[in-house]
Structures are given as structure tokens and as C-alpha cells.
């Protein structure tokens, strides 16, 4: 259509101001969509991380904290729980299975988790998926390790490679368990959960690493080699947490209360879904603030566009008169200015989407590494299209203000410009 082409050429002619306006709109849309994406993906990845587990039990602290360190490998436990308590609870009626978890060490930035073979049997993610081995299998030996897909890929490990676990969970560790190397016995397929970024070792192996340690430091003068450790009793004294599966969902609340009232030791049992909900409630305030802020940024971008078009109006009265003289109706002038706003909003939205994907492409590995949050490069979600449509619609709506002024001016001016 002639008017849209004119609008496009007119915008193109004012490259600098139009470009800056476009950039403002693009940035604001990228920000709005980015916030939405992070929010959605965070929820999605959290929600699909654990299923099939009825209760998570750890030392008494906060439900969210327990959930974060036991499942998401975020933060640390404040206290351990005794092996004895674990055994007793494992024998509670209605308890079908338990999987112990020992945390606190790391390997080149990835968390190391001591656990039992049952973990690979009972852990479920994305509702019903169980863990699958890409190669190898569960631990056969005390010093066997099973790697998450990302650990293997990023660090380039293959079956049979050996690795040394560092003490503590910092990025840089000064103390390593270099006297007890582990051998890669299995590599899991990708799950999109924190499992991908975990080095799993047997609980015995985990205990063996620490037999010559006390209170978080090696005992001076005591060196127990890997071979000597094999011969020792490697039942741990403490573990960090454990997962519980019950034979019936109905039993959940009863068992949970019993664990929470356990007299020997202060324990906390949480239902993963409930703790996740608490986490959402906590996060929703921040989410809403982010949404409001990014919406404001979009409004600012559109206001900038409005200002640019409005301030160009006076200088373009002559152009409007010329268009009128060649047969343009005042409605054409209105359409021209509407189209300019529309072209800017549309191009801005398109540039914003491109910008977002470029940012995702660049930021994805960083976000995954720093925050353990996987942001998949997917097509915009239906909700995103609505947001884009709403912004472009708002752009058009904003365009109607200068368009109406231009319409009025061109009616009053006619062919000559009267001030």
C-alpha cells in the first residue's frame, strides 16, 4: 500500500532519530521478554526437577533452604543428620525406599554428591522420567563416579577417566582429596535438571575421602590410602539429607509429622511440591516488581517514540501540504503518521526479539554456570507473542496522537501552511 511504503521511506530517511527510537523500543521489548522468559524457565526447570519423591528430610532449618540444597545444589546445609536417625526412619512403616545424600565437596565447579545406587532407581524428573545412562552404569566400586551429562561434556570425561574431588564447594579449592581419585563408571543422559551438573559418587567413596579428616580438615599425621580405606567400615556417621518414597500418598502427612516430631534429633521433612509453592510465593513479589519495571521501560520506549514523532510534526507541515496537493486525503495523512509509529513499533519489536536471542546465546552458558538455571533457546511462547502484539498495538495507539494532530493540521493548513 502506498501509504505504508511512504511511511517506511520516511522512517528510513530519518535514520538517526528513528534508529535511536527503534533501539529504545527494541531494548525495552528484549528486557520485558527476557524477564518473562527467565521467570517461566526458572519455574519450569524447578517444577520439573523432582518428582516421585514424597518427602525430603534434612537437618531442621527452612523448608526452602532444604529444598534448594538437596535438590537444586544451591546453597549449603547448615547441619548434617546422623546415620542412625536415617536408618531408623528408613524402617518407619509405610516407607518404601530412602536414598541418602551427602554433599559438601566439588569437582572443578560441579557439586559432588555421595549417594546410594537407589538414587538412580528412584529419582524422577519431568514427572515420570527416570535417569538413564548414556554409557556405563551405577557404581561398582567404592571409588566409582557417575557424571551428569553436562559435567562429562564440559570437562571432556569419558568412561574410565579418573578425577579428583576437591574439598568444599567453592569455585577454587585449596584442599583436594588427591590421595583418593575416582574412576568414571557411568555418564547419564541429559535431563535439563541439576543432575546434569552433579558428580555422583557412592556414599562409601564419599565417606572414604573423609576417613582421615576431622572437623573439615585433614587430621595431621594421619594418612589413610585408598587401598587401606577399602578395608575399613565405610558406613558414614552423618549424611546431609535423604529422599523418601512412601507406599501410599495418603501416608505422606502422617510420616512427615512423625519425622518432624522425631525426638532423637531435630529433623525437617518437607513435601517437595509444597516447598516449591512456598518458593514461588516468595519469588512472586520480586517477579511482579520485575514485570512492572520492565513494563515501565516499554512505556518509556514508546513515549520516546511519541516525542520524536510529535516534535517532527511542525517541520513536516510542508510535506503534508504537498501530499494533500497531489490528492492525499487528511485520512491519508493520519494513516501516514500511524504507519510510521507502526513501522517503528514493529521493527522495534522484531529487533527486540533478535536482541533477546543474541543475549540468550551469549548469556546462556554464563547463567547456567553461575545460577544453575538452564535457559533453552526455544521459539517465543504464546504468551510472548501476546506481549509483542500488545507492545506493537500500544505503539499504534501512541501513534494515533501525532497522527490525529497531523490530521488536524493538514485539515487546517490545506495547501498552504498557515501559522
Amino acid at each position: 500500500m502506498a501509504i505504508v511504503r511512504l511511511a517506511f521511506l520516511s522512517v528510513l530517511n530519518r535514520r538517526v532519530t528513528a534508529g535511536l527510537t527503534l533501539l529504545a523500543i527494541a531494548l525495552s521489548i528484549a528486557m520485558l521478554l527476557g524477564v518473562e522468559k527467565v521467570r517461566r524457565d526458572a519455574r519450569g526447570s524447578f517444577a520439573s526437577t523432582i518428582s516421585g519423591t514424597d518427602l525430603i528430610v534434612g537437618a531442621r532449618s527452612g523448608a526452602i533452604q532444604l529444598l534448594l540444597y538437596s535438590v537444586f545444589r544451591i546453597g549449603n546445609a547448615t547441619n548434617n543428620i546422623s546415620w542412625q536417625s536415617y536408618r531408623e526412619i528408613a524402617d518407619f512403616p509405610r516407607v518404601r525406599w530412602t536414598v541418602p545424600i551427602a554433599l559438601g565437596d566439588s569437582h572443578r565447579g560441579f557439586r559432588v554428591m555421595g549417594t546410594s545406587e537407589g538414587y538412580f532407581e528412584h529419582y524422577r524428573y519431568a514427572r515420570t522420567e527416570s535417569l538413564e545412562f548414556a554409557v556405563g552404569g551405577v557404581f561398582d566400586d567404592v571409588f566409582d563416579a557417575v557424571l551428569g551429562a553436562e559435567v562429562a561434556e564440559r570437562l571432556g570425561y569419558a568412561l574410565g577417566d579418573s578425577l579428583i574431588v576437591a574439598h568444599g564447594t567453592g569455585d577454587v579449592s585449596f584442599i583436594e582429596h588427591d590421595d583418593k581419585p575416582f574412576r568414571v563408571a557411568g555418564i547419564l543422559t541429559p535431563t535439563g535438571t541439576p543432575v546434569d551438573r552433579t558428580v555422583h559418587v557412592s556414599l562409601q567413596g564419599y565417606t572414604a575421602m573423609h576417613v582421615d579428616w576431622a572437623a573439615g580438615v585433614p587430621i595431621p599425621g594421619v594418612r589413610i590410602s585408598a587401598e587401606e580405606a577399602r578395608t575399613m567400615d565405610l558406613t558414614p556417621e552423618t549424611i546431609t539429607a535423604f529422599l523418601v518414597g512412601l507406599d501410599s500418598k495418603i501416608a505422606i502427612f502422617g510420616v512427615q509429622r512423625r519425622i518432624n516430631e522425631y525426638r532423637e534429633e531435630p529433623l525437617l521433612a518437607i513435601i517437595p511440591g509444597v516447598a516449591l509453592q512456598e518458593l514461588w510465593d516468595l519469588m512472586s513479589v520480586a517477579e511482579n516488581v520485575l514485570r512492572v519495571v520492565s513494563s515501565m521501560v516499554v512505556v518509556t520506549g514508546l513515549l520516546g517514540m511519541l516525542t520524536v514523532i510529535l516534535s517532527s510534526l511542525e517541520a513536516r507541515r510542508r510535506e503534508m501540504a504537498v501530499l494533500r496537493s497531489v490528492g492525499a486525503r487528511p485520512l491519508h495523512v493520519f494513516a501516514l503518521f500511524m504507519s510510521e509509529a507502526g513501522v517503528l513499533a514493529l521493527l522495534g519489536a522484531a529487533a527486540g526479539v533478535v536482541l533477546l536471542y543474541v543475549a540468550l546465546l551469549v548469556g546462556q552458558p554464563i547463567v547456567t554456570r553461575e545460577f544453575g538455571l538452564h535457559l533453552p533457546l526455544a521459539m517465543p511462547a504464546p504468551a510472548d507473542w501476546w506481549i509483542i502484539a500488545a507492545v506493537v498495538g500500544a505503539g499504534f495507539a501512541a501513534g494515533s496522537i501525532p497522527a490525529f494532530r497531523a490530521y488536524r493540521l493538514s485539515l487546517a493548513d490545506g495547501l498552504s501552511m498557515r501559522i
Partner: protein
């Protein structure tokens, strides 16, 4: 009914004020332009030239009276039809800033063809496409030097811009060309050449030419000259008279 061919412009008992309730700026008993005639309207600024040309263009409407262009009564037409009618039958040249800055020379010339199917078809009938016709007209107006077509219109000299505007007014052979002070931004030599070109092209196309200027010297080349202050019975601007 007269057996004579319909006049290109026929104005009868027209009164016009810019705003309702304001004093009239135009009060004309009769004014006509015959087909193919070249008429020079002379009058100082403020004598109502622009008002008269706006009325003939159908951009504004008189308070009373009739304005007929090619036999069609503009006053009775809805404004939508007047805009269409202007696009189809009238070409305009203004004093300056005639061109749309973001369009190329050729795009500026073919602009009326985007709003008028009649002129698009007529331009196409002449040389095949409106673009080819635009190039032909530009060449006729002496604008075919190397690389000129590719230049942005804002880089053109004022004389060149006015000739592009003339080509735009002429494309698609409208029956009436209206020029409002088209030469006042040009120097002496360019002025004469421009008038000659415009005049020749109107003759070739068989269009009537209505040119308004404050400069009486321009009138010599025209079939007829009309003094607007004599034609217009409305009081001239009281402020101007006092000055």
C-alpha cells in the same frame, strides 16, 4: 445549456472566509479559465491568491457560490470526492519546498499516480509506466544529466526542485495546472526559463495553466492577465492597508 465546451474553471458569486464568522477574504462575482488557456493572476501577498487556489484545488470550501472544474461542482461534492477529483484533474506547483524529502526524484514525480488511478493510467498510456513517463517529463524539463536521477531531492538546487515539481504537476496529463508563486525563489534567468518550460509543457499536454504571482513582469507570456484586487470585491486585509 451552452454548446461551448465546458470551461476548465468556472467560479460564480463565491464568498469565502477562512473561519466561520470571520470577514470574507474572497468575494468574486465571476472568474473562468477556458480549456487550454494560460491565465496569470496578479496580486500582492494577502490579496487572497492562496485562498483562491485552495478553493480551485477543492481543499477548502466557499461560504457560498459555485466552483466548477471541468463541469463538476466542487462545492456540492463531499470532501472525499474533492480530494479524489483534485488528484485526478489538477496539478500543483508551489513557491518552494515542493518535494517530499524522503522520496527520490522519480518517486516525487510519480506521487500523484499513487493517489489517482486516472493519472496513473494516463501516464502509463504515454510511455508505458508512470516511472518512464516521469523520466520523460524530467528530461523534457532539462533534468536528465548523468546521475541526477539518483541524487536525493534535497541535494537539488531550487531551480531543479521547481522543475521536478512541474514534472509532478504535469504527469498523467491533468487538465489544470495551478502554480502559486512558482518562480519567486528563483533568480532572474532561471525564472524565465522555468516559465517557458512550464508553459510549453502545458501546451503540449493541452492543460490550462493558472499562475499566481505578486510580480507583474511574469504576466507577459500569458494569454490573459487578471488582477486579483480588481476581481476580488472583499475588503483587503485592514492591517495591511493601515501599514
Amino acid at each position: 445549456m451552452s454548446l461551448e465546451p465546458e470551461a476548465t474553471v468556472g467560479i460564480d458569486r463565491v464568498r469565502f472566509a477562512w473561519r466561520h464568522g470571520q470577514r470574507d477574504v474572497l468575494d468574486i462575482v465571476h472568474f473562468a479559465v477556458a480549456a487550454g488557456e494560460r491565465v496569470f493572476i496578479e496580486g500582492p501577498s494577502g490579496s487572497g491568491k492562496s485562498s483562491l487556489l485552495s478553493l480551485i484545488g477543492g481543499v477548502t470550501s466557499p461560504r457560498e457560490g459555485s466552483i466548477r472544474i471541468l463541469g463538476a461542482d466542487l462545492v456540492r461534492m463531499p470532501s472525499r470526492h474533492r480530494d479524489r477529483f483534485r488528484a485526478d484533474h489538477v496539478g500543483f506547483v508551489f513557491q518552494m519546498f515542493n518535494l517530499v524529502p524522503y522520496l527520490s526524484m522519480v518517486d516525487n514525480v510519480t506521487l500523484p499516480c499513487r493517489f489517482s488511478r486516472r493519472r496513473r493510467e494516463r501516464a502509463g498510456a504515454q510511455t508505458g509506466t508512470p516511472e518512464a513517463e516521469a523520466r520523460r517529463l524530467l528530461a523534457r524539463l532539462g533534468l536528465d544529466r548523468d546521475g541526477l536521477f539518483e541524487r536525493t531531492v534535497t541535494d537539488l538546487s531550487i531551480g531543479q526542485q521547481q522543475r521536478v515539481a512541474a514534472a509532478r504537476a504535469l504527469i498523467g496529463a491533468p487538465e489544470l495546472i495551478v502554480a502559486d508563486e512558482p518562480t519567486s525563489a528563483l533568480d532572474e534567468g532561471a525564472r524565465g526559463r522555468f516559465l517557458e518550460l512550464l508553459s510549453t509543457q502545458c501546451d503540449e499536454a493541452g492543460a490550462s495553466l493558472l499562475l499566481a504571482s505578486h510580480d507583474p513582469r511574469l504576466g507577459d507570456a500569458f494569454d490573459r492577465r487578471v488582477s486579483l484586487p480588481e476581481l476580488n470585491r472583499a475588503e483587503s486585509d485592514p492591517n495591511r492597508r493601515a501599514a
